[in-house]
Every structure is written in C-alpha cells, then in structure tokens.
C-alpha cells in the first residue's frame, strides 16, 4: 500500500526526481542562503544534507523574488521533502499566477500528493484555490471518493466536498443532489457509524432548502431514515444526534411523534440511554409541570442503567431539572 503511494508520488514528481542543485549548471548563478537560525537555536533539527541544500536554494529564490519555471520546480521539491511547508505552497501559487501556468496539470499533480499526504492542510487549501480558479468542480467528487476509499472519515475531504457543493451552488442541481444522496446512503449502509457521512447528509438537506427551513415532511422523512439505523444499532450515537438535530429545528412538528417513537423503543431496548435522553430533552423543552416531572423520572431511569457511563453529566442534568420542579 505504502509502496504504491510512494510510486504515485514519484510519478507526479515527473522528471523532478534528480534533486541536485549544488553542482547543477542550471543553478550556477544562485547563491544558496543559509537558515538564519542564530548561534544556538532551540529545537535544532538534525536535517539531512539534501534537506539543507533544497531549503538553502529555496530561501535564495524567495529572497530574489524569482518567479521562473525553475523556481516552480524548486517549490515542488520543497513540498516533496516537507509537505507542510506552507511558505513553499504559498510561493508556488504566486509563481503559478506569474507564469500563467496550466492549472489543470497542477490539479493532477495534487492527486499524487493526496495519495501520500491526505491529511495535509496545505494540499487541501491549494486544491481549493485551483478549483476556484478553474471554476470547475467536475473532478472533485471522484477525487474525494478516492480519498474516502482509504479513509472514509478524512476530515479535509469531507470539508472540501462541502465547500465544492456550496461554492458552485450544487445544492440546487437536481442531478448532483441525487448522486450525493445515493453516495451518502451507500456509505451509511456500509458503516452506519460513519459520523462524517451523517453530518454530510444533514447539511446536504439543510443546504438544499436554504435559506428556507427544511419542510416538516422532509424533516420527518429524514428522521424515519435515521430511525431505521437506530433500530439496527441502538447504541450507535450518530443517528440519535442526527434525530436530535432535526428535533431542535422542528420542535412543533416532531416532538409528539418522537416522544411516541421513543416510548415504544424503550419497551424493547431497556438498557439504551439514547431514547431516554431524547425523552428528557422533549419533556424539558415542553416545560409544563407534568413534563418536568417526567423529565426528572427519565433522568433517574438513565442513572439506574447498568452500564451507565456519563453518570456525572446526568446527575448534573437531573439537578438542573429538579430545580425547575421547585419553582
């Protein structure tokens, strides 16, 4: 797996494999610039000779404000020895603009880097910058899918996908929305604990109707969708959070339905805290004296569960609610 990634990285480097500057005639005119570390820097890294050489030439180029092809190549080399060098990425963008470079080729290059460093902030920001300049989101879905194949919860990839949808107004594009919905359903059915997928789904629907509220019937549909997964795996918190998210925004339309569903649920699943927690929230929100009494009772039920973990949190909730009873 790692071998394949290294290969991909080398490929994207192209004929930039030869990292030689010192004795290279193409770089004869450049005087390498040493790092201005001072006489006794703390956290002194034991850099390799190659690392020092590359960075010395990079510093020289930046100082001279050179924006040439060879400078572009040099930034690529810096990125390959330290993908987190944000100065190199930043400077690379300046050069790309100055040269009027082929940004599609640049986009392809980032495919290679993503294979090796999929969690690197600079890579993702660079990709976003490119996509914005190219004004073309077409490749981004396959791109993020390929990252998900290796890590279905890669935070940057999900964020990127959300950004693409928003920036290009794709929540109003029926065809794209169908694809996204299908994709998310597939992901959730493969791993119902993929919280990133649940989050994506939530905002996919939100943004489809924004700036209007999600219609009540759609909200109910989403709750029913989540409920099928709740029934499969009662202790999986992801769909419960999803349902609570809808309840918070659609109190009027959903509170009675959800109360009923939870009451039925706890008959069957006697040791699950989540429906009890939802019942506490529903009754506390409703706020009548009877409701507060019930909320308090449900807190007691939670606290008496055999495998109760968030004990202190529920003691705190109960104390809060009990205070309301006194009023």
């Amino acid at each position: 797996e790692k071998e394949k990634e290294k290969e991909k990285e080398k490929e994207s480097m192209g004929d930039e494999e030869e990292i030689v500057f010192k004795d290279n005639p193409d770089w004869k005119d450049v005087v390498p610039l040493k790092q201005d570390d001072g006489p006794a820097p703390p956290v002194n890294i034991d850099y390799s000779e190659e690392f020092v050489e590359v960075m010395d030439y990079f510093r020289a180029i930046v100082k001279a404000n050179e924006k040439s092809e060879r400078a572009l190549h040099l930034t690529r080399v810096v990125i390959s020895i330290n993908a987190a060098n944000y100065t190199a990425w930043y400077y690379r963008r300046l050069i790309l603009e100055a040269l009027g470079a082929d940004l599609r080729k640049e986009l392809e290059m980032t495919d290679g880097i993503a294979a090796v460093s999929p969690k690197n902030y600079q890579l993702w920001y660079h990709r976003r910058w490119l996509v914005e300049k190219l004004a073309d989101p077409a490749a981004e879905f396959d791109f993020t899918n390929s990252v998900f194949a290796g890590d279905s919860k890669n935070y940057h990839a999900w964020s990127h996908r959300q950004w693409v949808m928003g920036f290009f107004g794709l929540h109003k594009d029926g065809e794209r929305m169908k694809k996204e919905t299908d994709n998310i359903e597939r992901l959730i059915s493969t791993d119902l604990r993929n919280n990133s997928a649940w989050n994506y789904r939530f905002y996919l629907v939100q943004q489809q109707y924004a700036p209007d509220r999600v219609p009540d019937d759609v909200a109910l549909g989403e709750v029913e969708f989540a409920w099928t997964y709740i029934c499969r795996s009662p202790n999986n918190q992801s769909p419960w959070l999803f349902v609570k998210g809808y309840l918070d925004q659609h109190q009027e339309a959903l509170h009675s339905t959800l109360q009923e569903k939870c009451e039925v649920f706890i008959q069957k699943h006697k040791f699950c805290s989540h429906p009890l927690a939802l019942l506490v929230d529903i009754h506390e929100k409703r706020g009548t004296h009877e409701d507060i009494v019930l909320a308090n009772e449900y807190c007691d039920k939670i606290l008496s569960l055999p495998a109760m973990y968030q004990k202190n949190y529920w003691e705190f909730r109960k104390a809060s609610i009990s205070k309301k009873l006194e009023q």
């Binding site: 002194n44 390799s48 930043y90 959300q162 950004w163 989050n199 939530f202 998210g245 809060s320």
Partner: protein, 416 residues
C-alpha cells in the same frame, strides 16, 4: 454492546478497548498485591524524571524525523516549555535567551511569527510562540514580541465573515480565529476591529451535534470545539452558541472503557483530546455558573440546524460553579487513561494510545489534560506526588505564568 453487524468503526473501537482493558486489569492485579497506600501510589506513577529528560533533550535538538515539523518549530518549543512548566521545571536562563533569540528570528518585520526563521508569518506558530512565552513568563522573551506589528498582522488576517485567515491568502477557519483572539488577549492588543462579528462566526461553526467544526457545516470535532468554546470565552460572548448541546456533546465524547476522549462521535480515543475536549468542561462550568436568567443569554444558534434554546434554569447553575467541570464528566478516569495507557515510562513522553509511539505533541496535551483533570475533581490519581501545576483552560498555559504575562502586557500602552 450492539449484537448485530460489526461495522468497520466498531471493529477498530473494540481493538483499542481490549488493549486498555488488558492494561487496566493487569494494573488492578498489581494494586491488589500492594500492602500499603505508598505501594499503591508507586503503581500509579507519573514518571517525572524520564519525561523531564525527554523534554530537555528535545529542547536542545531533535532527530531527523522532525524535519516534517520544520514549518512548526515554535509549536515544538511550546509543547516542550508548556510541558516543563506543568512539571514545574524551568529551563536555564541561557535557554531563555536562546528561545528569545529564536522567536525574534521567526518574527516577520511586518508582524506575525512563522514556523521557522524566514518563513511566512502564520497564525498557528504565532499562537504557539506567544503561548511558549507565557508558559515561561520570562521578560527576556516577552520583549521580543513587536505588539504593533503583530496587531497589524492580525488586522490583515481578519476576514469579513468575522473569522481570520491563517496566513496571507491562506485558509479561514475556526483555528485561525481562536489563535488570533488568544494572541491578542495575551499581548493586550484586542480591539473591536479584531472582534467584529467573531461571535457570529463561532456560532456559524456549531453543528446540530453541539460541537464545532472547522468551517460552517463541517463535522463537530474536538480540536475545533476547543477553538470555539475557548474563543467564545475570550470574547465573553456565547450568545450565538447553544451551550447545552455543546456541553452534552463534549461530555459524551469521554469513552466508557478507555476513560480518555475521542475527537468525534464514533472515532477512537486519543490522548490529545484530553486537552481539546477536556478543557471545554471547566470553561463551560464557569460559563454555566455565571449564566443569569433571560432568554437569549446563551444562544439559540439559529443557523446551521443547531437551534433551540439552552435549557435555562433562570439562575446561575450552582451545580456547575467552581467544580472545575467535575460535575459533567469523570476526571479520574481520564487520569487513569493517561497515566496507565499513555506514558512511555522507559524514554519519557506520552502517546496517542497504545501501542503508538510517543511524541512531543501528545506529551504536552496529555500533561495539559492531566493537569485539568487533577483540578477537575477531588482526586489526584496516584497521590499528591503526581500533582501538576494548574493550567488555564482557555489559553492552554500554566495559570500563574499566564497571569504574570497578562499583567506585564496590560501595563503597556494601546497599539490600536
């Protein structure tokens, strides 16, 4: 335990639980054969000496593997000096001068600090350098920071959304926003121009789950949740945030078996979240204790599907006051996770989770989380000998040193 299909997430989770369970049961066995409290305490040990050696030698120099952090050297200084300050170990005056000199070289003449000498100024290393400085509270380091240039830098990074960019033409997110506020607070350069619409920006990053994401609509995540929670504390403004769902989310991120925190729902425990998540609890405890009645005092968070008023009791929540957040979580279980599962007792430092290797980042955030957990309840796990110095949860800096630093800068004239 759900008895149906085992998803990928569940398999990974179980593996980690099994490792921790083995460690806990072997320690329990060891403890049972102890004949005195003293012996017990030896089993539940904070290995100060090896941690100290690891930190001090790292402050001097680092192996080649750290080349990947060449753009984050102020961070490394912060992780080390922050750790040493919690262990109540101070570097020599000569090292203080070296740190001061180094930060001076990382500082850009137009303001802001870069990941190393000559690098583009960036809010993250700027935050780290300021925090390292505050952790040490040595005037020779304080003098290095150019307040007016830093202010100019922060203004340049300010974004119309209310948030901040990390660096020139860089990403805008909640991390950058928190870093900017924290730096401004410590250097005494906070101004209305910097805080304009920032509370709204934080609010826009809270999700339906209750935690915060990096940008609006992004998944609730521990690191970003810390930035949002601490950021609102710095603004003293939670009006755009639903603090009830925030508290519920953070409290539910503590893992039942392991005792440590996960970063996101259904992900694995990681020692660094001991701080990112753990710090939110004392911060919220303070907040809830202060909260007076009245609608809208704490947010309705109407954007982004996180609406609904926090359940307001109409008076400050006394259950929360002064408890260091102990009312909401299990600080002792966190201490147990860190001391028993995460310490490298041979060569010092702490790890993400067993069997991973230790590193400086996890070392600092473990010690930070440990300090908060010790302050968060009646127990210092393993006895008083394990007690660390108190950490301020909003900045992530040793409390008394932070106060000394704040006093120093607040006496200086305004720059805005």
């Amino acid at each position: 335990m759900d008895s149906e299909i085992w998803s990928e997430s569940q398999k990974k989770q179980r593996e980690v639980e099994v490792r921790c369970e083995r460690i806990y049961s072997s320690k329990t066995y060891e403890l049972e054969s102890c004949k005195s409290e003293r012996e017990r305490e030896q089993v539940l040990h904070l290995y100060r000496d090896v941690h100290r050696s690891y930190l001090e030698s790292s402050l001097e120099g680092l192996p080649q593997g750290y080349s990947s952090l060449d753009a984050s050297r102020p961070w490394i200084v912060y992780w080390i000096t922050g750790s040493l300050s919690l262990l109540d170990v101070s570097p020599a005056p000569s090292m203080m001068r070296r740190v001061a000199d180094f930060f001076g070289r990382c500082q850009d003449s137009r303001g802001g600090i870069g990941g190393g000498p000559g690098q583009l100024p960036h809010l993250a290393p700027t935050y780290a350098a300021v925090n390292a400085m505050a952790s040490l509270a040595d005037p020779v380091i304080m003098e290095v920071f150019d307040r007016s240039a830093t202010y100019a830098f922060l203004l340049r990074m300010k974004h119309p959304s209310g948030g901040f960019r990390m660096h020139e033409d860089g990403e805008v997110d909640i991390r950058a926003t928190y870093c900017a506020l924290s730096v401004a607070k410590i250097l005494h350069i906070l101004s209305p121009a910097l805080t304009y619409r920032t509370a709204e920006f934080f609010g826009s990053c809270q999700t339906y789950e209750g935690g915060f994401g990096g940008e609006p609509f992004n998944e609730a995540h521990g690191g970003y949740t810390f930035c949002g929670t601490a950021g609102c504390a710095l603004l003293n403004d939670y009006t755009h945030v639903n603090t009830d769902s925030l508290l519920a989310w953070v409290a539910h991120r503590q893992m039942a078996t392991e005792g440590g925190f996960q970063g996101r729902c259904n992900k694995l425990v990681d020692a660094c979240y001991s701080f990112w998540q753990g710090a939110c609890l004392p911060i919220l405890a303070e907040r809830l204790a202060e909260r007076k009645g009245g609608a809208g005092e704490d947010g309705r968070g109407v954007q982004n599907g996180n609406g609904g008023c926090g359940a307001d009791s109409g008076e400050g929540d006394d259950a929360a006051r002064g408890t260091g957040g102990a009312g909401f979580w299990s600080p002792e279980d966190l201490q147990r996770y860190l001391l028993l599962c995460c310490q490298d007792d041979m060569t010092g430092g702490f790890r993400d989770k067993p069997p991973m290797r230790k590193d400086l980042y996890h070392t600092f955030y473990s010690l930070a989380g440990l300090s908060l957990a010790q302050g968060g309840g009646p127990t210092v796990y393993g006895g008083k000998k394990n007690a660390l110095e108190r950490l301020d949860p909003v900045h992530g800096v040793r409390g008394d040193r932070l106060r000394k630093t704040l006093n120093h800068f607040s006496a200086l004239p305004s720059v805005s």
